[in-house]
């Protein structure tokens, strides 16, 4: 019974997203993976005017058997630098994905909420303590790091030159590019500290 309802509802929601006017503009899109209705791929665009502008962010969506009585399990498949998203795992801290879920919400409305969350972070309810701390105390460095991550992971057009230089400098020392990007970001772009984390001792 429950499985049936989850499947039929997801089918209807897929149709709804396809019908909706946002999908024509490419703001949100949704597709079933391997024809399965319990694992979907969502795509949202970075909201204009935010550091994520121009980026394409993929969402990994799992539908529980009890759906729509339990919320969908959603995390970012694209790496994001955001106070309410884990920079390591992509887990999202959003109330409607937990206690405030209601069956009347749809994957489309949830994805639009996640997109809105990208545009207006809530630093008081953080998922990633490092990012949230930076958001509060060093806002411009946060904006730059978020834009840099949107460029390298989500294909946003503009990069940040200073950060490109620092990464290139450390990659020349023989470290992996992705490790360098992560560790520089987690250490506030302090090359010394990042080096210490990458090659302790």
């Amino acid at each position: 019974m429950a499985t049936n309802m989850a499947n039929t509802r997801i089918q209807r929601e897929l149709a709804e997203v396809a019908r909706a006017s946002d999908s024509e503009k490419g703001i949100v899109s949704l597709e079933a993976l391997d024809g399965r209705l319990d694992h979907l791929l969502g795509v949202i665009m970075g909201p204009p005017g935010s550091p994520y502008d121009g980026g394409t962010f993929k969402l990994d969506i799992h539908i529980p058997v009890e759906y729509p009585f339990k919320p969908p399990i959603i995390k970012f498949a694209t790496k994001v630098w955001h106070p309410n998203v884990s920079s390591a795992s992509g887990a999202i801290c959003l109330d409607i994905l937990k206690t405030n879920w209601a069956a009347a919400m749809t994957l489309r409305t949830v994805m639009i909420s996640i997109q809105a969350l990208l545009g207006s972070p809530v630093a008081d309810d953080p998922q990633d303590a490092i990012v949230a701390g930076q958001f509060k105390s060093q806002r411009s460095l946060f904006d730059q790091t978020a834009r840099y991550w949107a460029h390298i992971h989500a294909g946003a057009p503009t990069s940040v030159a200073v950060m490109d230089q620092k990464v290139a400098q450390m990659v020349q020392m023989g470290f992996r590019e992705s490790d360098v990007q992560d560790n520089l970001s987690w250490n506030g772009w302090d090359v010394e500290k990042a080096l210490e984390k990458l090659a302790p001792g």
Partner: protein
């Protein structure tokens, strides 16, 4: 009652739920509608009746805004399963809250599942609409006074059990302490003498005195006099025989050790047994009184153990003070030779 009319009404249950709030009993609703559809004269006759007034109002809504009612019925969609009007035929529709527009309608069975998922087994828990916050009107069938009493009983038992378990635990600990106290008394003063002594004393005093025996033992065990003596032994010797030992010049660093709670507990509780054994072993025949023998045994044990412990502590401390952190052995030669070895 006209049989044709009844079947017609049966075939259109959705219209009835539309006109009337759904939490009302359906059978009385149907009766009312039949009465309503019968003829105007019956309405006129029942004008003072409150029920008839409501059905008149319902009829008025139907007649004055037919188009509005019709369109909302046509494109209604369940906010749980998202099925539209004709996708799940035969389902009962509800409009259980203040929501308007597309989220107004829901299937009866779907809402039941949603309420189940919110209540998680607590059938009487109130549930609100997640969109508009309106409290769902849940009518519970009458199940009788006995069920109500049992329900109240069930809830109070669930609430009281953690406290009861706590009280049981405290009680069990207390009675264990009493038994331990009694056993210790019998062990220390002798089996028969101990029993006689306890029989002669006031039970109330026993109930306080017996459990305080293990408590006092633990409390005494926590006073670590040997540590203090080991730390201040030079001062001690000086104060006892100042003509032999000079006043110590300086305090020295002392490696402090923590004693675990389990060790304190075991040490304290086993102490009377050890005291009895040592007393019996050392002064078996020479001292007649069990109590005196045990006290002497205990004192010997404390004294010997204290001296050993002070000695151990001092040696331990000496070891600690002689500790030196060394440079690593030179490894440069080994490093450079290793690759050569590999190529040879």
């Amino acid at each position: 009652m006209d049989p044709e009319m009844t079947t017609m009404i049966d075939a259109a249950p959705s219209t009835t739920s539309l006109v009337k709030p759904d939490h009302k009993d359906t059978s009385s609703l149907r009766d009312r509608l039949i009465g309503n559809a019968d003829l105007e004269e019956s309405l006129g006759a029942k004008e003072e009746n409150a029920e008839a007034e409501t059905s008149l109002a319902a009829r008025a809504t139907m007649t004055s805004y037919p188009s509005l009612v019709d369109t909302s019925v046509l494109d209604r969609q369940c906010w749980v399963c998202f099925a539209g009007e004709d996708e799940e035929p035969g389902q009962r529709w509800l409009r259980p809250c203040r929501c308007r527009g597309s989220t107004k309608w829901v299937h009866y069975l779907c809402l039941q599942q949603w309420i189940d998922s919110q209540q998680k087994g607590t059938v009487t828990m109130p549930v609100t609409c997640p969109q508009c916050g309106a409290l769902y009107l849940l009518k519970y069938g009458s199940v009788g006074a006995i069920h109500r009493i049992l329900d109240a009983l069930e809830r109070s038992i669930n609430k009281g059990c953690p406290y009861m378990a706590g009280i049981c635990l405290v009680g069990a600990t207390y009675w264990t302490a009493v038994s331990y106290g009694a056993l210790t008394v019998m062990q220390v003063v002798g089996h028969r003498e101990g029993l006689q002594m306890m029989e002669r004393s006031d039970p109330l005093v026993l109930l306080i005195a017996l459990p305080s025996i293990p408590a006092c033992l633990i409390w005494a065990k926590m006073a670590r006099w040997e540590d203090w003596a080991a730390r201040n032994w030079r001062w001690l010797l000086h104060s006892v025989c100042p003509w032999v030992f000079e006043q110590p010049a300086e305090d020295f660093l002392f490696a402090d050790q923590h004693t675990s709670p389990s060790r304190i507990l075991c040490g304290a509780l086993i102490f009377p047994t050890i005291a009895t054994l040592i007393g019996r072993f050392l002064l078996g025949r020479r001292v007649r009184s069990n109590l005196n023998r045990t006290i002497l045994g205990g004192l010997v044990f404390i004294g010997v153990k204290g001296i050993l412990r002070i000695y151990y502590k001092l040696k331990h401390n000496e070891q600690y003070q002689k500790r030196e952190i060394m440079d690593a052995p030179e490894t440069r030669n080994a490093d450079t030779q290793a690759p050569d070895d590999m190529f040879q």
